[in-house]
């Protein structure tokens, strides 16, 4: 007897590993034109920055970089530093960290908590994933340390996306039932099989039954409960579409491993097993060496995800405010990041404790050092005539502008020229309080998501430039 579709899925664990896709429309045929595809990465560091050691004094061509950015010096042609960008959204019922966290990637005009339940709006990574995510194995990847307060990614106003902090689970999610291979972009054709029509499979029969049960149940329920059941129906139908897509994706993966591209994609050599990975994540807060090792490992997973076309959208939340930094911080006696952020950021920098501020500077120079390592690695990956970095748009920023919950004048830089749609080597200063949302509109645009506005780009009272950000190219 021929193996059933379900046997096939179960055998490979594909259903388990496959991400959900919010809306599965036929993929764009135009994909063939852009080979390799453009990817968007966001690396967001906890705790703001120390702006006087981040922001170049002059605008225009980058001179000697300030101390926090110093390690980017050899690659500054690939770097665009942006200043003056802010979040101006209103928040209600949120503490300082939540307020900044909820606005961070959403640029929401308003974020709040109602009866303990959080609301913001769709974040830039999820808006991109909704469209671009249909072409890759995972629509998007959210990794690193985001907690109850620092919720960055939002699928919709009331659905935030959890971040996976365990590197082993990230890896498993990417490659369970799949071979690791960098595609040969020259070869990969746009052709795709699979009609998406309903098929007679075991999974389909289970789905048919529970949909039937749910519809019967729905007719007996009150209106409020019906809404909840609609959520169930939507969820099951999404799984149904996913089941129908599994084969196509697997065929693609098989082709990639037969015809790999010029760069070699490999399992990170120091990837720990599940239990150790959890322990490693726990230990990051106490030991900066483990913290660095963990950050490098997660960076490698992000690079691997792009290199193998596992996803084209990835967000990495780096560090937690609760981390301790003995050895990284060499001044004063305090080593606790959150305490330092507060001591180092009074109402004005000049009123702050200078020792704590120096400690914050040391922490951020340390974080940026790890980001530099990541960018260097991306620059060394050949995708057939261009590097991975050339085909990426990497946003490096923080969820707060400074350690005092500031939302004004964020540290922002873009690395990678996004397939020549960005011109690096410059510092662009925008008028005070220009919305970060404008940058998100530009990023969406480059990722092929055409929107008229995003977040507060047009509704902010500080709206500028018709909701766009001029001069990036």
């Amino acid at each position: 007897m021929e193996p059933t579709r379900r046997d096939l899925l179960r055998g490979t664990g594909a259903l388990l590993a496959l991400p959900f896709l919010e809306s599965l429309q036929p993929r764009a045929w135009g994909e063939a034109r852009i080979t390799p595809p453009l990817r968007m990465g966001i690396v967001t560091v906890t705790g703001g920055t120390v702006l006087e050691s981040w922001k170049p004094k002059d605008t225009g061509p980058l001179g000697k970089l300030p101390s926090i950015l110093r390690c980017l010096e050899p690659m500054k042609g690939d770097v665009l530093v942006l200043s003056g960008l802010s979040h101006n959204g209103r928040t209600d019922g949120l503490n300082g960290h939540e307020a900044a966290g909820y606005l961070h990637l959403t640029g929401a005009p308003e974020a709040k908590k109602v009866n303990g339940k959080s609301r913001s709006s769709k974040s830039v990574d999820q808006a991109v994933a909704e469209v671009v995510g249909q072409s890759s194995y995972l629509p998007s990847l959210e990794i690193g340390m985001s907690n109850q307060e620092t919720r960055y990614s939002w699928r919709s106003a009331d659905q935030h996306v959890p971040y996976e902090s365990n590197p082993r689970l990230v890896f498993d999610r990417m490659f369970r039932g799949r071979k690791i291979a960098a595609p040969d972009w020259g070869r990969r054709a746009a052709a795709r099989a699979g009609s998406g029509e309903k098929r007679d499979s075991d999974d389909q029969s289970v789905i048919d039954l529970v949909l039937d049960e749910a519809n019967r149940l729905k007719s007996t329920l009150g209106s409020a409960d019906k809404l909840r059941l609609d959520e169930y129906l939507h969820a099951v139908r999404t799984v149904e579409r996913r089941v129908q897509l599994v084969e196509d994706l697997q065929r693609q993966a098989a082709l990639d491993s037969e015809h790999p591209g010029p760069s070699k994609a490999e399992v990170p050599p120091n990837l720990p097993d599940g239990k150790m990975a959890g322990r490693m994540r726990q230990a990051t807060e106490r030991d900066p060496e483990i913290h660095a090792e963990y950050t490098r490992l997660m960076s490698e997973l992000m690079i691997l995800a792009f290199q193998t076309d596992t996803t084209r959208v990835c967000t990495f939340a780096v560090g937690t405010d609760e981390s301790l930094f003995p050895g990284v911080v060499t001044v004063g006696y305090e080593r606790h990041c959150h305490t330092l952020e507060h001591q180092g950021n009074a109402d004005k920098p000049e009123n702050a404790d200078p020792i704590a501020r120096e400690a914050c500077r040391q922490i951020h120079a340390w974080y940026t050092g790890l980001f530099c390592e990541m960018i260097r690695k991306m620059k060394a990956i050949d995708e057939g005539g261009s590097t991975l970095l050339d085909n990426c748009m990497m946003l490096y920023t923080s969820y707060m502008a400074d350690g005092g919950h500031g939302k004004d004048d964020y540290p922002v830089l873009l690395a990678g020229t996004a397939q020549k749609t960005l011109t690096g080597g410059r510092h662009l200063a925008y008028p005070k309080r220009t919305p970060m949302s404008n940058l998100y509109v530009e990023m969406l645009d480059r990722m092929g998501v055409k929107v008229d506005e995003f977040g507060e780009s047009k509704t902010s009272k500080y709206a500028q430039f018709g909701g766009r950000l001029p001069g990036l190219a």
Binding site: L15, N95, N115, Q159, L169, L209, S223, A224, H234
Partner: protein
């Protein structure tokens, strides 16, 4: 508008939160006073911002005309009371209330904020009906009891932690079902079927009926079994072995809405009605055990026996003594008292070498054992405020400086006053989870007391609050206490911090990891405090007398929290009479753990529901 500052004043003022109902006449007096004095006052002092034109904060007092209708707005008056009492409203720069107007207004508000007519039982409202998904821990426990599969299925397939914010993880509104989670349920169903022993029975039909009955927690209709059998037929017709052919229908049950949700059906009529037996059994079981009903409960329910209050009470007493009732500690109390934050407690071994993972674990067990024993021995919940005993093991006793306790097992220790322990505030867990890396935080400790003991959390600091200002040269503050005193000087901070900080300072004799100390850095400790009411108290002893004196407010909060956990929704105005009845019954029964639980189970909103009319 500035945020409502929820104050200790209210929590500590007698009467307002106690269980007595005001006399019926009070309602008429309040209504008359509203028309005569209060409405004009609102017009002259409040309408400008909270009237038909501006409606600041969504508030329009002009819609409140007169008569008894205004007395239904208890929550509004409670909020207004705090604002006016604290002189937050009318705000600076607006026409102030004269002292006479102010005191008349406050006294009326106090009456209106606590007025409720509990005489009219016919019109009781059980609150909005809610279709609740099993949360992550309920799902795991239910799978364990239904299938015998004991692994952590949710983690195994990567179901995300429930993100319900400050609400309990039983909160229906927060328990959404995104597609990503549904996908995990399909994966989990496969995993369970791989691991479980195939269910046995006379025929596939009977096997499926019995399994579905337990999974759906109710009797199964024939047409439901027919549909499962059709799926069974799919395997049979292609020659699957009997056990394999059962997999498909079993999988369908495990991803069915009847399993994943706790379904309660609409009944004819517009009024509130009693839940069916199985529905009540399901509520009860998830409340006390966080899992499905066992056979004893389900069969009583199916036979309609739970309608008899004595049978219902008997079931509750049986269930409270069952080990599964530990869920009340692990799920309810751990969330209520924020015990889960102990995992992320900040004190570091760099500053506190004693605070090892092992000690932290002992602290957790001290708290959970105390709560479990409170339930098993059915003691007074006031033991949580102060007790002459503690549950300790060797490590913890040594940490607390209590002699004569050895070994890692926890045992009951009779306390002496000079050991300074007893009650929640003497437990290392709560003292440590409210501390900073290198020091105590009186603010976090005070906040914990306001939140957990009284249920009156202070609002978060405004996002631009920044930190304490350093003083200019020559006026350097000397002690920690003096530094902290700046909270109370800076106007933006003072309103809240003069409520929060004194409670925390009373606990200064406990260091950041809960060890006792008489001095700090060679200087004697200052643990004296003044409540906003002007009342002075000193140290943990003084704090405990305040706690015990205000025990009704604590008990009321515990009842509100437990009811909210049990119902999966916030407590609302219509629950007021039930809350008072539960508290009155608990008071008559020596505040026993069981009296509160039984009060909740017998309460109107727990046993009843109504049809949903519209989008909630």
């Amino acid at each position: 508008m500035r945020r409502a500052v929820i104050g200790l004043v209210l929590a500590l003022s007698a009467g307002a939160l106690t269980a007595q109902s005001p006399p019926a006449a009070a309602g008429d007096d309040l209504a008359a006073a509203f028309a005569k004095d209060i409405r004009p006052l609102l017009e002259s002092h409040c309408f400008k911002c909270h009237g038909p034109m501006k409606k600041k904060g969504g508030l329009d007092f002009s819609r409140l005309k007169d008569g008894k209708a205004v007395l239904g707005e208890r929550r509004l008056w409670k909020k207004a009371l705090l604002q006016v009492e604290e002189h937050e409203m009318p705000p600076e720069g607006e026409k102030p209330l004269s002292p006479e107007q102010g005191s008349a207004f406050v006294s009326w508000l106090r009456g209106a904020a606590s007025y409720v007519d509990c005489g009219n039982l016919v019109e009781r409202d059980p609150g909005p009906p809610l279709l609740r998904r099993l949360n992550r821990s309920e799902y795991n426990a239910t799978v364990r009891d239904l299938t015998g599969v004991t692994i952590d299925v949710a983690s195994e397939v990567g179901m995300p932690e429930e993100a319900t914010g400050t609400a309990f993880d039983t909160s229906a509104n927060a328990l959404v079902l995104p597609p990503a989670l549904m996908e995990k349920h399909f994966a989990a169903a496969d995993l369970i079927l791989d691991r479980m022993k195939p269910p046995q029975g006379a025929s596939p039909r009977e096997i499926l009926r019995a399994f579905a009955r337990r999974a759906y927690r109710r009797p199964i209709r024939d047409d439901e079994v027919d549909r499962l059998m059709a799926l069974h037929g799919r395997g049979v017709s292609r020659g699957d072995a009997p056990e394999k052919a059962l997999r498909l229908p079993l999988k369908a049950v495990l991803v069915s809405p009847h399993f994943l949700f706790r379904v309660e059906r609409e009944q004819a009529g517009a009024k509130a009605y009693a839940l069916t037996g199985p529905e009540l059994a399901t509520r009860l079981s998830y409340f006390l055990w966080s899992t499905m009903p066992d056979e004893a409960l389900l069969s009583d329910a199916e036979q309609g026996k739970l309608a008899d209050p004595a049978v219902l009470e008997g079931q509750v007493r049986r269930m409270l003594l069952h080990p599964k009732a530990k869920a009340l500690t692990g799920n309810f109390a751990a969330q209520w008292l924020q015990l889960r934050k102990l995992d992320f407690a900040r004190p570091s071994t760099e500053f506190f070498p004693a605070f090892t993972g092992r000690l932290k674990q002992a602290m957790r067990e001290e708290a959970t054992t105390f709560l479990d024993k409170l339930r098993e021995e059915d003691r007074s919940i006031l033991d949580l405020l102060d007790s002459d005993y503690a549950w300790l093991n060797g490590d913890l006793a040594k940490h607390y400086g209590i002699p004569g306790v050895e070994g890692k097992d926890f045992r009951r220790v009779a306390l002496r006053p000079e050991w300074h322990r007893g009650g929640l505030v003497g437990m290392g867990a709560f003292l440590a989870l409210t501390s900073h890396t290198s020091r105590t935080s009186p603010t976090l400790r005070g906040k914990w007391i306001l939140e957990s003991i009284y249920g009156t959390p202070p609002p978060p600091p405004p996002p631009d609050a920044g930190t304490i200002k350093e003083q200019k040269k020559g006026a350097e503050p000397k002690t920690f206490r003096e530094l902290m005193a700046q909270h109370a000087v800076q106007a933006a901070c003072a309103t809240c911090h003069r409520r929060i900080d004194p409670l925390g300072f009373a606990l200064e004799n406990y260091d950041a990891v809960g060890a006792w100390r008489d001095s700090q850095g060679g200087k004697p400790l200052d643990s004296a405090g003044v409540l906003p009411s002007g009342e002075k108290f000193d140290g943990v002893g003084g704090l405990k007398s305040v706690l015990l004196r205000t025990a009704p407010a604590f008990e009321r909060n515990l009842i509100e929290q437990l009811l909210s956990y049990a119902l999966g929704r916030d407590v609302q105005d219509s629950d007021e009479c039930s809350l008072r009845e539960i508290q009155a019954a608990a008071d008559r029964d020596g505040h026993r753990y069981s009296s509160i639980v039984i009060g909740i189970v017998k309460s109107f909103p727990f046993r009843n529901r109504k049809n949903s009319e519209a989008k909630d």
